[in-house]
């Protein structure tokens, strides 16, 4: 988080031009979505830019009542007429520049993340659960992680845990004949499970856990209740910087005589829809409230719209630069305070590199090159962290001068008193002898 005095000024550069013939052809498509897909290869959209097409008021491209449509890639369609001047500014800022709620920004965001998918089966006697996680990860999760690979490195694991129970007993609700977990008992669900997840052994990187819980036969079906008492449609909840949990209910068998264990094939698409939404929320990419005339295209299988990626990069770059400045300032303050600290050469070179990278990041940001600015800021943060957390900078190892006095004076002062007095005696005697050289009888 930036220090008190930083302020951020954003500047938008707007370029106006008329559409090319091919863009006109693309805009003649039937619906906004098709127009968007047709326009995508025609743009030379670089990271951080947004192309806004103004369509005539009577165009049928945008549905009724919608005047702004934001696509999956970096383009938007705006209906002309009616206070056009006011539109680009809100569009630009709300779509491009607004800072996403920084749920996952922090010094751990540099190195990488470890994403773990866990299937919790507390009742293997009743349910034999199968999930095709590898295929689901390749089809649905990998695309969004590939897009986010600019921001951080990711590694994905999965595991199945048996006999892992939730820490909370759900209540039975007679009206819906189902079990309910209330909102205020949700925070206590995570802790008993976490010890068994093995997340600490995985790596030094922060771990994001996505848990799929298949309730026991005696506690099926299990729903999460929101504040108003209605069951939540996704049956899932998440915790910032930790991950998410989804409860997957197995339908009760038609006939009670069916032999247990029931074989359950998890519907990975339903599960991944929720998990990917939680992943986006954990990264701060939530859909904020826009006025009803705006229509945002859902990113679909790609998971992440290009302009959302831009937003994330902007936010990360700014945060990185702010972090670098605070780190280096506090390092300088530490060095001022302890006068005789020894700075090793590699610490010094890291500091120089951090400063140079931060300056280049600012320069790139000023000209609008988002990608190189982000890379430079990432390098700057890595260098500054390495310099700050160098093990040799422990202030304990460097004695201040007053401590040296405090230790040696009580030891040597009493001892040196007779020595100094004797020295004085010697000097006096030598002088006396010199004064009477001829005392000879």
């Amino acid at each position: 988080p930036p220090a008190v005095r930083t302020s951020i000024t954003s500047r938008y550069e707007m370029v106006y031009r008329s559409t090319t013939a091919r863009e006109e052809a693309a805009l003649g498509a039937a619906s906004a979505r098709e127009a968007d897909t047709a326009l995508h290869p025609l743009q030379d959209a670089s990271l951080g830019s947004l192309t806004v097409y103004v369509v005539p008021e009577t165009s049928s491209l945008l549905p009724q009542g919608v005047s702004v449509y934001v696509g999956k890639h970096r383009s938007a369609l705006v209906r002309a007429g009616g206070g056009l001047a006011a539109r680009p500014a809100p569009l630009g800022s709300s779509v491009v520049a607004a800072r996403p709620a920084s749920a996952l920004t922090g010094c751990g965001s540099l190195a990488g993340y470890e994403i773990t998918f866990s299937l919790l089966n507390p009742d293997p006697k009743s349910h034999a659960v199968d999930w095709d996680i590898e295929d689901a990860v390749n089809r649905y999760v990998q695309p969004i992680l590939d897009k986010l690979s600019l921001v951080a490195n990711f590694s994905v694991d999965s595991q199945i845990l048996y006999y892992a129970v939730l820490g909370v007993t759900p209540r039975f609700d007679k009206e819906s004949s189902s079990f309910l977990l209330s909102t205020h008992s949700l925070p206590h669900v995570i802790n008993p499970v976490e010890a068994r997840l093995g997340s600490s052994a995985a790596s030094l990187h922060p771990v994001l856990n996505f848990l799929l819980y298949v309730p026991e036969h005696s506690h099926s079906p299990l729903y999460i209740q929101d504040k108003d008492g209605a069951p939540v449609s996704t049956n899932a909840f998440h915790s910032p910087r930790w991950g998410g949990i989804m409860i997957y209910n197995v339908e009760a068998p038609a006939s009670p005589q069916v032999s247990l264990p029931l074989h359950v094939d998890v519907d990975m698409v339903r599960v991944m829809e929720v998990f990917l939404a939680q992943l986006r929320l954990l990264f701060g990419l939530s859909r904020e409230e826009l006025p009803p005339e705006f229509l945002l295209e859902s990113p679909g299988n790609e998971g992440l719209a290009d302009w959302e990626l831009d937003r994330l990069l902007w936010a990360h770059t700014m945060e990185n630069i702010a972090t670098v400045s605070t780190t280096l300032t506090s390092l300088a303050q530490l060095l001022d305070k302890i006068g005789n600290i020894v700075i090793k050469d590699d610490v010094a070179s890291e500091v120089y590199r951090a400063v140079a990278s931060a300056q280049s990041a600012m320069a790139e940001l000023a000209t609008g090159h988002l990608h190189s600015a982000f890379q430079a800021s990432k390098e700057a943060v890595t260098s500054s962290e390495r310099a700050f957390f160098d093990p040799s900078l422990l202030h304990l190892l460097y004695f201040p001068d007053d401590q040296k006095f405090a230790i040696y004076i009580p030891l040597y002062l009493p001892m040196s008193v007779p020595i100094l007095l004797s020295l004085a005696k010697i000097v006096r005697e030598t002088r006396q002898r010199k004064k009477e050289p001829t005392k000879m009888d």
């Binding site: 030094l204 909840f237 910087r241 990113p299 299988n301 957390f389």
Partner: protein, 496 residues
């Protein structure tokens, strides 16, 4: 005239807001409310929307993350809609300048105010927070903003007769684990091993109550720093994060800016220092500096420091970083006493302060709403003989609003997931754009665990001989010279 009205307008009370809210037909934004309020109080039109005062007062009180919407911020930045809080400090500066300018141009204010209010009405009014939304945000403001919990529990004394310090630390460890903090988030440092000490008549146990009622050692204690690894240097390295890269993850404090950390220290202490391992000390200045280093790097959101030693209050005297709350078992000049000896084990089992803290914590369960004020009352002088102290001036929230489980437990913030992405089931998997490099997987094998051949044939390393340093030489030369000068050089021939 307008200026005098401005200076005599009384400050607004909460009840005025309530009145204004009750009179509205439908919920409106804060800007509408405050404008209506201004109209209600017909004597103070020139001051402008009064809500700015309250917004700014709240802003200053927290200094960090204000959650109440700021009407003037919404007015000045019409494009930033929808629940994003703008960067707080520039807004506060703007609010300040706004007010100052208003004070100067008192005559022009009514016109300006009307125009500004109209603009604000248009932009920020009906889309902004509802009355209940303001309530929610106010509630959120008083709750801690942490997302994870860490605990650093340190016992600094060794030897069998300091059994009680290990028992103290283990009982806090046990409470903290029971209330939900996982082992991966606890750094436990025990300077000596009591459970497997040869003098322990009941091996593998550490008791905290007389008659061996409660074994705090339990079945799954995970000690991170044990024995001689508990040094001042290691402790400071854990706190500041300057650890060598080879340190395993369980020995690191991987906290971030949203972590609440509990630090518990026990042992023998004095006025301004705490003794480690009978051979070194950590001073209160070093501890305060370490906390400041943590704050500079935002390694904690809030910190609770508990110390159970003699003259413990001296250790928290020098703290100067924000968001630290400290508790100590005794004041400067007082000794912390131990609780009760067990005749079968032969040593004192617990210290009084921690004994009563443990009793207090046994009543707490993960969902309890007990707050810090109760913890401050835990061991009165009648029970503890020493006077426990606490320090909350560096802490931003009121201790009344701080839950015990904010530090001792791990109650996570959860949100219900309401949105989903729609995925196309039939779409074939994307070809990954990144090249997957196929590493040749070579069979991995363990390194030689015990290289016997190397050890047997190892020659002892020759340590280079260094001549004694100048200071020692000079000192001896001085002493010898003075001796012989004083007593006469004739003694020399008897020596050599």
């Amino acid at each position: 005239m307008a200026r005098s009205a401005a200076t005599t307008a009384p400050a607004l009370q909460k009840r005025d807001f309530k009145q204004a809210l009750q009179g509205l037909a439908r919920p409106r934004g804060l800007r509408c409310v405050t404008k209506r309020l201004a109209r209600l109080r017909a004597g103070a039109p020139a001051r402008g929307p009064p809500g700015e005062h309250d917004g700014r007062r709240t802003q200053r009180r927290t200094g960090r993350r204000p959650h109440l919407p700021r009407p003037e911020a919404a007015a000045r930045r019409p494009h930033m809609r929808g629940g994003h809080s703008p960067p707080p400090f520039p807004a506060a500066a703007e609010a300040g300048t706004l007010r100052r300018r208003r004070g100067k141009m008192a005559a022009a204010v009514p016109a300006v105010g009307c125009v500004r209010a109209a603009a604000a009405l248009l932009l920020g009014c009906c889309g902004a927070a509802l009355a209940s939304g303001v309530q929610d945000q106010a509630e959120q403001f008083f709750r801690s903003g942490h997302t994870n919990n860490w605990a650093v529990l340190v016992c600094t004394s060794r030897f069998w007769f300091n059994y009680r310090h290990v028992a103290n630390t283990l009982s806090v460890y046990r409470s903290v684990k029971r209330l939900g903090i996982p082992d991966s988030h606890i750094v436990l440092m025990l300077a000596d091993d009591m459970a497997c000490n040869p003098r322990n008549p009941k091996p593998a146990t550490v008791f905290s109550h007389k008659n061996m009622e409660l074994n705090v050692y339990g079945d799954d204690v995970e000690v991170d720093y044990r024995g001689y690894e508990v040094t001042v240097e290691n402790f400071l390295r854990v706190l500041t994060g300057r650890i060598p890269p080879s340190t395993p993850r369980s020995k690191r404090l991987l906290s971030d800016d949203r972590s609440n950390i509990l630090i518990y220290m026990t042992g023998h202490g004095g006025n301004g220092f705490l003794k480690f391992q009978d051979s070194e000390e950590i001073t209160n200045v070093e501890l305060a500096d370490a906390f400041e280093q943590m704050w500079q790097k935002r390694r904690y959101n809030e910190l609770l420091f508990i110390i159970d030693t003699c003259q413990g209050a001296s250790m928290y005297e020098r703290f100067y970083s924000p968001n630290i709350m400290a508790l100590a078992s005794s004041q400067v000049g007082e000794d912390s006493l131990s609780h009760q000896p067990d005749l079968a084990i032969g040593v004192h089992l617990m210290d009084r302060y921690t004994f009563y803290v443990l009793e207090f914590l046994e009543e707490i369960h993960p969902a309890s709403q007990t707050n810090m004020n109760d913890l401050f009352q835990v061991c009165p002088k009648s029970l503890c003989v020493s006077t426990p102290g606490h320090r909350t001036d560096l802490f931003q929230r009121d201790p009344q609003n701080v839950l015990i489980t904010d530090f001792f437990g791990s109650v996570r913030k959860v949100e219900i997931t309401t949105e989903t992405i729609s995925l196309d089931r039939d779409l074939a998997g994307f070809e990954s754009k990144l090249p997957k490099d196929e590493l040749a997987t070579e069979p991995l094998k363990y390194a030689e665990q015990f290289p016997v051949a190397q050890i047997i044939h190892q020659k002892p390393k020759q340590k280079d001989w260094h001549p004694p340093g100048g200071f020692i030489l000079g000192l001896w030369a001085l002493i010898i010279m003075v001796f012989f000068k004083t007593y006469g050089i004739k003694h020399m021939k008897h020596i050599f």
